[in-house]
């Protein structure tokens, strides 16, 4: 994968900021996030609740407009587009959400839900519309003859998620933003959907931003993984490298907190005390320093920027772990 990623990225996010105003206070939900998606890759975005990962996904898809920063898709800047042109461009980038049942209109038949984007854009009508929607249902593993005329309530959560995916694929998007798409599903159904996403990614040449809190799920589907904490990225690396040797102390703590279905897994006590500080009043300098075992004076004074510490590997930490115990060096 690493060799194929030298071309211009398909999707590029630069210095993304999203602020919300709440009771006179401003919350910086996303505070300067940058990443690239190369065509055909899956970037996992992982972090705990409130870290801003979903907001990052929504702002990337322009469902909420970022306060500042740039999002370019195939060279087109999305953040400055007005609504008509934006809607057109946005068909190239589709989003799927956590709760499939509430994101489907309960009063419409499955075939009409899947074909909705075609209706909106007038892409296809009549038999062509039915043909495309049926093909999408088949692609997500549902038999159109049995399902097309039924309503969402007649399906389980896993099947509703398949219907949402079929709808998202209808316009043949290049980028799919998946926001916690398997978190509400049982393990056995979750595995079906993860396998399906892998198959669809290959068959439809998709580029995926996969947002989730579950570390094992993210590792399973991602080529690269970005770890987020309190509105900032801590670390970006190839999936296997990040999990094998985390460079950011927060990544290490997350991995040490995860439980594995293995009675011989090393027993560690919870590596982090306390809870993340309020995004209303983030710590100075490094946002993780208040819970970081390696924090030093410099961490309070100077905010660490994401910097390369190896091929395809970036970390925002003054004292990264990255393999050796010696003094940290840049590059």
């Amino acid at each position: 994968m690493a060799d194929a990623v030298r071309e211009a990225p398909l999707l590029s996010v630069r210095d993304l900021h999203v602020s919300f105003t709440k009771g006179g206070h401003t919350v910086q939900a996303v505070a300067g996030v940058s990443f690239d998606l190369q065509a055909g890759e899956t970037l996992g975005l992982v972090g705990e609740s409130g870290c801003g990962k979903s907001t990052t996904g929504r702002a990337t898809a322009q469902i909420i407009r970022p306060t500042r920063g740039s999002v370019t898709l195939g060279g087109v800047e999305l953040t400055t587009l007005r609504s008509g042109r934006l809607r057109k461009e946005r068909t190239r980038l589709q989003m799927i959400f956590q709760d499939p049942v509430s994101s489907l209109n309960p009063r419409r038949r499955v075939i009409d839900i899947v074909a909705e984007p075609l209706d909106i854009w007038g892409t296809a009508t009549g038999t062509e519309r039915t043909r495309i929607a049926s093909e999408m249902l088949e692609a997500v593993g549902m038999d159109p003859a049995l399902t097309a005329q039924r309503y969402p309530r007649q399906f389980s959560g896993g099947q509703c998620q398949r219907i949402s995916i079929a709808r998202a694929l209808c316009m043949r998007p290049e980028v799919l933003v998946c926001d916690e798409v398997v978190s509400a599903l049982d393990v056995s159904i979750q595995a079906q959907i993860l396998n399906l996403l892998e198959d669809l990614k290959r068959d439809y040449s998709l580029t995926v931003l996969f947002i989730a809190h579950d570390l094992a799920v993210v590792k399973n589907v991602s080529d690269r993984v970005a770890v987020m904490y309190l509105g900032r990225l801590c670390e970006v690396a190839t999936s296997d490298a990040l999990y094998a040797s985390p460079a950011h102390p927060y990544t290490a703590a997350l991995l040490a907190s995860a439980v594995e279905p293995d009675p011989d897994a090393p027993r560690r006590h919870a590596p982090l005390d306390g809870e993340p500080p309020s995004p209303l009043d983030p710590p100075s300098g490094c946002r993780f320093r208040t819970r970081c075992p390696r924090a030093a004076e410099r961490c309070a004074l100077e905010e660490p920027q994401l910097r390369a510490i190896g091929p395809g590997r970036e970390v925002a930490c003054h004292f990264p772990l990255a393999g050796d115990d010696g003094p940290p060096t840049a590059d």
């Binding site: 393990v187 079906q192 094992a216 399973n220 997350l254 439980v259 006590h269 919870a270 982090l272």
Partner: protein
């Protein structure tokens, strides 16, 4: 330690705290009776931790609520026996149950926000329990409440006792729930998905807390979860449920090293793991759980099972002990015979 569940009617050994026998819970629904828990028998020793694992609809939550006697009366029928230290709970009058709640048996729920009273300060919710059950005076109850909040790891407990649930984070609310559940020193704690919905770093804290409190108090615990990872290193035994029945019950290590029931094996294989390479193809279980109102005859897992035969589709397999290992029970006509580890066929990169 008594590993095997005692046969129905038997009071069990002196170390047995809980003895559940042929427990069955049925709900009336518009489509007919739904059997959520069927033929469940097991026993639990004092101080023991039993993990109960299953997916949605497996009956794990209804099971612990049936044990606790917390199901709504109308339209719900529970039969069989639940004996806590020899006291029968099924059919016991609610006054008798109330006398046992908090003092001998207690419960922690998945969603602390909906189990805490939103308009009462959390400290008062603890003192209420203490004053009702332990007849403590106001001042003593308050002091003990603050002490309990400190024990469950809440910083500045005296100050936090004055907070309302909405002012606390999810992890803090779960700590308050645990403080309430433990206030009167129960012998048995039923924890129903106590960390579901919490972040991993907070989940690790809560699981550590439960384990510490349990070992210092010698309390038995039933830890209900959908996540095999949560129970893998924190339980003495694991009971796997599917479609309302126990399908496998074994000491934790033995369960993982020698899974006999194909469902247990399939559940493990469909779980993504940190020690697998990226893009490892998961072995998903095709299909979905059965309809409990109108179940097919035979083993409930048969329609999704790779090894099912005609016998599986017509006869329900009984929960029986391994012939070489009385502590390992499983309900399967064609049990897996060899030690099985989670090995999924790995695919090299997709792109």
């Amino acid at each position: 330690m008594i590993d095997a569940p005692t046969p129905s009617g038997d009071a069990g050994g002196p170390s047995t705290l809980l003895d559940v026998s042929q427990l069955r819970t049925t709900f009336e629904t518009a489509r007919g009776p739904l059997t959520a828990v069927d033929s469940v028998s097991f026993s639990l020793d004092r101080g023991e931790t039993l993990g109960v694992v299953g997916e949605s609809g497996s009956g794990k939550t209804v099971l612990v609520r049936s044990i606790m006697g917390l199901l709504p009366g109308r339209g719900t029928t529970t039969t069989g026996s639940v004996a806590l230290d020899g006291i029968e709970l099924v059919g016991a009058p609610s006054e008798a149950l109330r006398a046992l709640w908090a003092e001998r048996i207690s419960m922690v729920f998945q969603d602390p926000m909906s189990s805490l009273n939103p308009v009462q300060r959390v400290g008062n919710q603890i003192t209420e329990t203490l004053r009702v059950h332990q007849r403590l005076g106001r001042r003593d109850a308050r002091a003990k409440a603050v002490q309990l909040l400190a024990q469950v790891g809440i910083p500045s407990p005296a100050e936090r006792a004055r907070a309302y649930p909405v002012q606390l984070s999810g992890g803090m609310r779960q700590r308050v729930m645990i403080a309430i559940a433990l206030a009167c020193g129960p012998e048995l704690l039923l924890a129903d998905e106590p960390t579901t919905g919490l972040d991993v770093t907070i989940q690790a804290q809560i699981l550590d807390l439960l384990e510490d409190l349990q070992s210092t108090r010698g309390m038995a615990m039933i830890l209900v979860t959908h996540d095999l990872g949560v129970v893998a290193t924190r339980t003495d035994r694991i009971m796997v449920m599917y479609a309302g029945r126990v399908v496998e019950l074994a000491p934790t290590r033995r369960l993982f090293s020698d899974m006999r029931m194909p469902y247990t094996e399939a559940l493990l294989n469909s779980t993504p793991r940190l020690d697998q390479a990226s893009h490892t193809r998961l072995r998903a279980i095709e299909g979905r759980p059965p309809d409990l109102v109108d179940p097919d005859p035979g083993c409930a897992f048969a329609p999704r099972c790779d090894y099912a035969t005609d016998q599986c589709r017509t006869q329900v397999p009984p929960l029986t002990a391994d012939e070489h290992d009385a502590a390992h029970l499983f309900a399967c006509w064609h049990p897996r015979g060899t030690p099985v580890r989670a090995v999924a066929p790995s695919r090299s990169g997709d792109g």
